[in-house]
């Protein structure tokens, strides 16, 4: 029997808040290999090729590293033919970003058909916000464009985690996946209501930068005391992606229009730049997900 989203949202939020407060909430960890590499990266003398033995253990990770290093976007005119060569070409910052991106993407992948469909949409929204955040940051003169990309990519990272927790809760209640306990629209609403504290908890657990945690914490109000900042770039990008329809869930158009209008003045985005940023956004996102 369908459950009213609002009531369910309150219940789930209460349970999750208590678990976070008691430190009993089990959050997904990054893949073991990634965790080990991130520990290595903290060493100031770390060189990307030092990670070769660990990267070799994870075939998916190794393939992504080679693909990224051989991407023409990274200036690769000659193919990197070995992992050490690919890792050296990527550099420390890009390698770190790639590790976080791979870990995050795994959260958005679900074998459950109902979750899978929505998390694909969530991932597309995240990619759109990431690309826009990086472009807006660069155009506004923010030096940390890579941090803006990551913050955009992870601003909704709590959603797939909540989706997974909801599915687990559903299985516990009805004992089978065939009975529909929560209507799809209802659980998307629940995600929207409760994902932020989960995302923040996850950011802390994964040791993500403060800029990312801040973007997850509040993506709906600008911080006018620090106008041109990574957080504000992500907030503007989030509103713009929603305005372009790259989003899963209901959109309050007035809210989105206000956020775009405020963000334009806050960040100094003129009509031409706005048009360029949003033009063909859907195609650019799809090109990345193919």
């Amino acid at each position: 029997m369908p459950v009213v989203a609002e009531k369910l949202g309150e219940q789930v939020q209460a349970i999750l808040s208590k678990k976070i407060a008691d430190n009993t909430l089990v959050l997904p960890a990054p893949p073991t290999v990634v965790t080990k590499i991130l520990q290595l990266v903290r060493d100031p003398s770390f060189s990307p090729k030092d990670a070769t033995p660990l990267v070799e253990r994870d075939t998916v990770l190794a393939a992504r590293v080679l693909r990224a290093a051989n991407s023409v976007q990274h200036g690769a005119m000659e193919r990197a033919r070995s992992l050490p060569q690919a890792l050296t070409r990527l550099g420390v910052e890009k390698f770190k970003s790639l590790l976080v991106e791979i870990s995050a993407h795994r959260l958005f992948e679900s074998r459950d058909p109902r979750i899978g469909e929505h998390t694909r949409g969530l991932w597309e929204h995240s990619l759109a916000v990431a690309m826009l955040s990086r472009d807006v940051a660069a155009l506004c003169g923010v030096a940390e464009t890579e941090a803006a990309y990551l913050a955009g990519l992870l601003h909704d990272i709590g959603k797939p985690v909540v989706a997974f927790l909801l599915l687990e809760a559903e299985k516990n209640v009805v004992g089978t996946r065939t009975n529909v306990w929560i209507e799809p629209d209802a659980w998307v609403e629940v995600l929207q209501k409760v994902h932020r504290p989960i995302g923040v908890a996850l950011a802390n657990k994964w040791g993500l930068p403060e800029t990312v945690a801040s973007a997850i914490q509040d993506c709906s109000e600008y911080n006018s005391s620090e106008r041109v900042s990574v957080g504000n770039c992500v907030r503007f990008a989030n509103a713009l992606a929603k305005k372009e329809g790259i989003y899963v869930g209901k959109i309050d158009e007035s809210d989105v229009d206000a956020l775009v209008m405020i963000g334009r003045s806050l960040l100094g985005i003129d009509d031409n730049v706005l048009q360029r940023l949003s033009g063909g956004l859907g195609d650019r996102v799809r090109a990345l997900t193919v």
Binding site: E93, L139, G141, D255, I262, S265, G268, R276
Partner: protein, 377 residues
Amino acid sequence: MPRVLTVDDSKAIRTIVSKQMLDLGFEIDEAEDGVQGLAKLEELTFDLVILDVTMPNLDGPGMLAKMRDAGNKTPVLMLTSESKRSIMVDVMKAGIEDYILKPFKPEELRAKVLKVLKIAAPSMPVTMGGEPAMPQGRMDPTGKQFIDILVIDDMENVHKKLKTLVPPHVTVGAALSAASALQACREKVFRVVFIDTDIPDVNSAALMNQLRSLQQHAAFLALALRSANDVQKEMQALGFDDVIFKPFDKDNIDDFLIRFFNDQDLVVAEDNLLRIGAFAGKDDRIDKYFTRVSKLLEEQIEKIAAACHDQVIIDLTNSPLKPDRTPRLVIDLKKEAQKRGVELKLVAGADHSALLKKFDETAKMTVCGSVHEARAA
């Protein structure tokens, strides 16, 4: 002359806004709060209200609501330090044209006021500091400095080398980092932008997309090393218009110059007179020169016919004398002129004239020794 009302409890803001509006040649009136603002609207008709949010007695949203309730549809531009979404949503629903967050730049106020009033922006010269120095040159119609080529490459030698390969009238600017490139593109206008595909920690495709938003009329070319891969195809797939290979090759640069800069030098039009420019390349490129000249002349003949001239004079004096190409060029031009209904007269030296006498199709054509003679003939 547009009349603007500024409603703000800050005298400093009202003074700044008033000065900006007076500089634009507008009439300006001031009010300290919403009550005074409504009273001004009772007295006079305004083309625009620039309205603060937080004010004593009657705040901006309150004044706006009363205006709209009374059927007053004067456009409103909010100028406020309020950035809360929830407040601005309500204000937007009441009907505003745009929004400016304090503190604001004068350019933003001017641009948004002119946009609301549907007036074209006057030109505002912009200057830029930074590395390395940009060449001084022409201004584009918006008042920004115009530079032909921007080279974005972390290797300083690249733009220096390019400068030695392009004619002196083609201006070349340089940026050694993505940040300086973005700054340059915010402040200048470029015809062509070269982006190195191997700048450390820079995603060249993402940078190109960012710069395109600032330089919408520029062509973007990738600077790449020669490789076994199909670089041209890969770069075009990323959105670049073309590729220039490093180290620079004279032929590659010549092709680039012909495509983006030299057309006007190859054929110079003065009313119904078309002067052909000299050939200044390697001998093996002469065919490309003639093909390009022929195409440009055909386009010019069409324009001359469209301008109702009944004659076209083509000055061959500077064009190279090539027994296999010159007569063919003239025959093609004769056909084009006949097709357009204009008479073709040639200006050339004795060698050209002697060569053309040897071919049936050109033997009887009028070949004069000077433009003056051709006009008189």
